[in-house]
């Protein structure tokens, strides 16, 4: 027997996630480049872990036999063949990294953190963020602590399956690892919708990324802007309520105070505004501050204003911000593309996620809303939508996704319209319908909808 490739290895960009769905354990392989989603069994995953680019078919037989998972050469050959055909396996070791002649400067440790103004955060304790994200990375020491925590109590998932690599099949103890999920929930979220690690050992014992959530860090060359990623209902509710806490403790004021493995995003310099126009990064700093203030004022249609800013990027660049909203017709191709992508994603989620899985419910809600409702006639929610744009603008989030600022503005206007359509249809039973925009924002990132605009 032979393999279609000599020494298979799971491609470095493929993301494997361990899920317990109902009573079924599975590893879901997601190829973010193609959008492909594949399911394999935990035994298959053990084989893929052995596919490290050095083992041929005989060696894979022996590697699986060594861990008691050998199911025959033919079974290995069949699985490898199918995964090669799906494009998620490559041949041999990865090429050695090429040392770049010029490397981007790292954010200096003494760079100050600049928090989103007039914003304090109060978590509602509903565990929404623990039920939605497919990739919750634990820092190495967090993963170690979590394993110790798990060792003391019954867990629905075996210890060897609690963490998988962020990407590829090689779990490196020096790098973050992604936690397993039960019906789309973090395995450490308990029946009371509380983090079991937090409940047992206190807030400081929570994983680093959970402690810093929803803070996002972006270096603009002078400061590291800190904003709240608008992906959870309580982030929106916090904007309208008194109290709450700073996004970060008072003791964290410099980049050097952050965990070293938290890498701030970086605003490119110059900043692409359109495919043919750029602006210096210093101009973006001023633009985002003013834009944030206008957005928070919520005195115009947020989607139409974002569209007006996008349209003006070609002629005005960053010079005029306080412009009136435009009619939304220019977003029709964007909504059409979003609708198409959302329908495809919802179908995929229906195929493998449990009915109670929040990600599946949200994907279906988005797809059904866009399929049955006209988002262009739906009522805006000025304060919510204004806050949404304000956070993204303050945090330079529209300039760090690899796309021109004008593109990002149209994309966010499209998401706002999508959320408006969602309010016209009943929300799934388990979901708060109060802030669908938060769910759209989370779904676009979490469920790989973002690529919808690639062709526009």
């Amino acid at each position: 027997m032979t393999l279609p490739i000599e020494r298979p290895r799971l491609a470095g960009h493929v993301q494997a996630r361990f899920h317990l769905t109902g009573a079924q354990e599975k590893v879901v392989l997601h190829d973010p480049r193609s959008g492909l989603v594949l399911e394999v069994t935990p035994d298959d995953w053990r084989l893929l872990e052995a596919c490290d680019g050095t083992r041929d078919l005989d060696a894979l037989c022996l590697a699986t036999a060594k861990i008691g998972r050998y199911r025959g050469e033919g079974a290995i050959e069949q699985l490898i063949g199918e995964l090669v055909e799906a494009g998620v396996l490559v041949d041999g070791l990865p090429p050695p990294p090429i040392t770049a002649p010029v490397t981007p400067p790292e954010t200096p440790a003494d760079r100050p953190l600049e928090m989103a103004p007039d914003y304090r955060f109060s978590c509602d304790g509903q565990g929404s963020c623990c039920r939605f994200y497919g990739s919750i990375p634990f820092m190495p020491v967090d993963a170690l602590s979590a394993r110790l925590h798990a060792a003391d109590r019954p867990m629905p998932i075996a210890p060897q399956n609690l963490f998988l690599p962020v990407s590829g099949a090689h779990l490196d103890p020096a790098h973050p690892a992604v936690v397993a999920q039960v019906n789309g929930r973090c395995v450490f979220l308990n029946a009371d919708e509380r983090c079991d690690i937090h409940a047992s050992s206190g807030a400081e014992a929570k994983p680093t990324v959970c402690q810093t959530y929803p803070a996002v860090f972006v270096d603009d060359g002078e400061v590291v802007r800190v904003s709240a990623t608008p992906e959870c209902a309580c982030i929106f509710d916090s904007a309208e309520s008194e109290g709450g806490e700073r996004l970060l403790p008072d003791t964290i004021r410099l980049r050097g105070d952050l965990h070293p493995l938290i890498a701030p995003g970086v605003v490119p310099d110059p900043v692409p505004l359109t495919l043919s126009r750029t602006a210096p990064r210093s101009a973006l700093r001023a633009w985002s501050r003013t834009a944030h203030d206008i957005a928070r004022a919520a005195d115009r249609d947020a989607a139409g204003w974002a569209l007006a800013l996008a349209e003006g990027m070609t002629t005005r660049g960053l010079d005029e911000i306080d412009v009136p909203s435009l009619p939304l017709d220019g977003l029709r191709p964007w909504i059409a593309a979003f609708r198409s992508r959302a329908a495809s994603v919802a179908q995929t989620q229906d195929g493998w996620r449990h009915a109670s899985d929040l990600s599946r419910q949200v994907a279906r809600w988005i797809a059904d809303a866009l399929d049955s409702q006209d988002p262009f006639t739906a009522e805006p929610r000025p304060r919510e939508e204004g806050f949404y744009l304000a956070m993204l603008m303050w945090g330079h989030r529209l300039s760090t996704g690899g796309r021109p600022l004008g593109h990002s503005l149209r994309d966010r206007a499209t998401r706002i319209l999508t959320a408006r359509a969602m309010r016209l249809v009943p929300a799934p039973e388990d979901i708060s319908s109060e802030h669908p925009l938060a769910l759209v924002e989370a779904a676009v990132r979490n469920l790989s909808i973002a690529g919808y605009a690639n062709e526009l």
Partner: protein, 143 residues
């Protein structure tokens, strides 16, 4: 002990038999110029080596351990095999292959009839028959 497998036995059949019987896979030797391909199952008590002998187009199992009779019975129950009588019968239809395979299925102590067949083959005018007999002699390793 050696047991000759029927030509229809492939790796998938061996794997199936191994999984049903609980034979742990312990090693695989790839074919080289001087060594046939070998897939080895076993534990601390026994070894069961499946050999794909490309030199004589044969697949056979080599059984080692202190209770190879039980293991051999288990193997014969799980996979189609060829006996000494089967190979003798082949002498009429596929003489060269049959002479080679006598070396695999022949008993560990000298057998007069096989001895006669091999002696006759060693003096054959056909070089291929002489080579087959030489292989069988070497494989039997009788005194």
């Amino acid at each position: 002990m050696r047991i000759l497998l029927a030509p229809s036995v492939d790796r998938a059949a061996i794997d199936r038999a191994g999984m049903e019987a609980g034979w742990p896979l312990v090693n695989i030797f790839a074919r080289t110029q001087t060594r046939p391909r070998q897939v080895i199952f076993g534990d601390s008590e026994w070894l069961l080596t499946f050999v794909w002998d490309h030199r004589v187009d044969a697949r056979y199992a080599v059984l080692d351990g202190h209770d190879v009779d039980t293991l051999g019975a288990q193997l014969r129950g799980a996979l189609p095999t060829l006996s000494l009588d089967d190979v003798r019968a082949m002498l009429e239809t596929d003489r060269i292959r049959a002479i080679c395979w006598l070396g695999i299925v022949g008993p560990p102590t000298p057998d007069p009839e096989i001895r006669r067949i091999l002696d006759e083959a060693l003096t054959s005018s056909d070089e291929r028959i002489r080579d087959a007999a030489a292989f069988a002699e070497e494989a039997l390793d009788w005194p």
